[in-house]
Amino acid sequence: MFTQADKRCTLSELVAQVKDGDVLAVGGGLSWREPMAALRELIRQGRRGLTVVGSAHGIDIDLLCGAGVVAASGESYVGFEQDFGMAPNFRRACESGEVQVRDNCCYTLVQQLRAAISGLPFMPIRSVQGTSFEALHPEFKTMTCPYTGDKIVLVPPLQPDVVVLHAHFADRHGNLRIEGPPVADILFAKASRKVIVTVEEIIAHEELAEIGVTIPYFYVTAVCEVRYGAHPTSCYPNYAYDRQHTQYYYDQARQGAEVFRENYLKPFVSQCPDHQVYLEAIGGRERLHRLATWRESAEQWMSLYD
């Protein structure tokens, strides 16, 4: 239980909750509400040997792989969909053996989180049988159901050491409000040992209670206000996905580890001492304003994908 009255802290204090070798869950999914500012700070702090777990992810896991932070991946998908395709850093790190491949599937992950949340030694699942995931995950066991006689798979609890989330609002006590799809964030928050959160805005408790609490405070370890903390992924309604920046990222990553380090990691991560400097590096107020124009019209919204 995390019960302290005021959980606000700096971004570097927040991220210092993650230790080398931890199992880290990352919130959001694909190009939506990934805690990118916290991940950049994690890289700056030189964290190593993390096992990442999650459902469908993109630039977040790819960035961590490109920075040499990850030792194993238990994600169900890491890529850029039909937008750019395969995730270059993730792919390279897996193929070189630097990152151990422990792919998972979405419902398997959900059931494992549910086992952790409910304090059970396993959860049953019907799928997975007949796939290569059985060999990849020897910890999954098969048993005959005592009620139906059917064969079922048992999956053990998954309790991440830390989950890092980016939410729209928090109060200082750590109650969180997420707008739009929560992806696996609520499950992760309930299953993880520590929950660290960046938010667009910290507001008064009364105001938060009015709009509704998505995740109760006692799950939450620490919060930090980081506006545009999901950039270049989206955090609607505040801002859309920054496709131009992602295109630049992808083009550098595709050219190899060295080019990626020089042309992306240096200017946007290691040489940015903090998030404010990053926001200037990506184009400052003008760029950020543009990402908020999605509401103006369908044409304007569509133009953000050019």
């Binding site: 694909l30 459902s55 994600e75 969909e81 599937c105 979405c106 699942i125 049988q129 007949g130 919204w301």
Partner: protein, 277 residues
């Protein structure tokens, strides 16, 4: 005045073939990274399947009216106008309890029983190519009532040494999702896949669960399909040419996908294939 529509592209024809597999009144989920399927579901709901419970992949929005198709699936533009929303566990619980009528899956390797691989090329000891992974495909391949399989990369042109890298393969290097029979030959539970829509034609399955060529396109043939397939397959006695979509359906697809995101699934050459209606 716009010109009347007299032709359709390969992408539009494939979207129509996928839409034809969608029953009215069921719950179907389009997943992510699947623009042809996303458009097929919206086409079905606006034509023959008005009571379809359309669940959008990644956002889990129910019956949305996207303003335009986006290149990434978890985007507010894809969930605009939704009637309600599910969350991740609810969607997968619906499938596990038998209430997902149809799911759509693809693979970089697809075998004769439609086991599929989107995880890695090379065997466990030697990883040749790490693919993005299957999302929830492993689970849904076993839990959804019916599966439509699609791939826009069936054609496997020979390289300079004359070798072809097949999409429809003799054997998958990794089985991400299950088809009709697992690799050890044991049959699956449930009904499973009933259709494969490709850039060369449409397959159904024989009584053993083996893929069978059921229809071709006006510019393909059974011989061409065989040449581009890594396993032998039966051909339906009444092998036909697929039906063509109506002009208003094509217009709808073009309106839903003004950026032509679905064309990104097609090879460069296939983007210029057109068919007379």
């Amino acid at each position: 005045m716009t010109e009347p529509i007299r032709t359709c592209t390969l992408g539009e024809l494939m979207i129509y073939q996928i839409a034809l597999t969608i029953e009215d009144g069921i719950l179907a989920f389009h997943g992510f990274g699947s623009p042809q399927v996303q458009l097929a579901l919206h086409l079905a709901k606006r034509s023959h399947a008005p009571n379809l419970v359309l669940v959008a992949g990644a956002t889990y929005a129910v019956n949305p009216s996207p303003l335009f198709l986006t290149p990434t699936s978890n985007d507010f533009a894809m969930s605009v106008g939704a009637e309600c929303d599910l969350d991740i566990e609810e969607l997968f619980d619906l499938a596990a309890s038998g209430r997902m009528g149809r799911m759509f899956l693809s693979g970089l390797q697809i075998d004769r029983w439609v086991n599929m691989n989107v995880t890695r090329l090379g065997d466990a000891g030697h990883l040749k190519l790490k693919l993005p992974g299957g999302g929830g495909g492993c689970n849904l391949s076993a839990d959804a009532e019916h599966i439509t399989i699609w791939t826009a990369a069936h054609r496997a042109p020979p390289d300079q040494q004359g070798r072809r890298r097949f999409r429809l393969v003799e054997r998958c290097d990794f089985v991400t999702s299950v088809g009709h029979r697992t690799t050890d030959g044991s049959p699956r539970r449930g009904k499973g896949p009933d259709c494969i829509v490709t850039d060369l034609g449409v397959f159904d399955f024989d009584e053993t669960g083996h893929a069978r060529l059921q229809a071709i396109y006006p510019d393909t043939s059974a011989a061409l399909v065989a040449e581009n397939t890594g396993f032998d397959f039966p051909v339906a006695d009444d092998l036909a040419i697929t039906p063509m979509p109506e002009p208003d359906m094509i217009e709808l697809i073009r309106r839903l996908d003004p950026m032509q995101i679905h064309r990104r699934e097609l090879s460069h050459d296939d983007q210029t294939r057109e068919f007379e209606l």
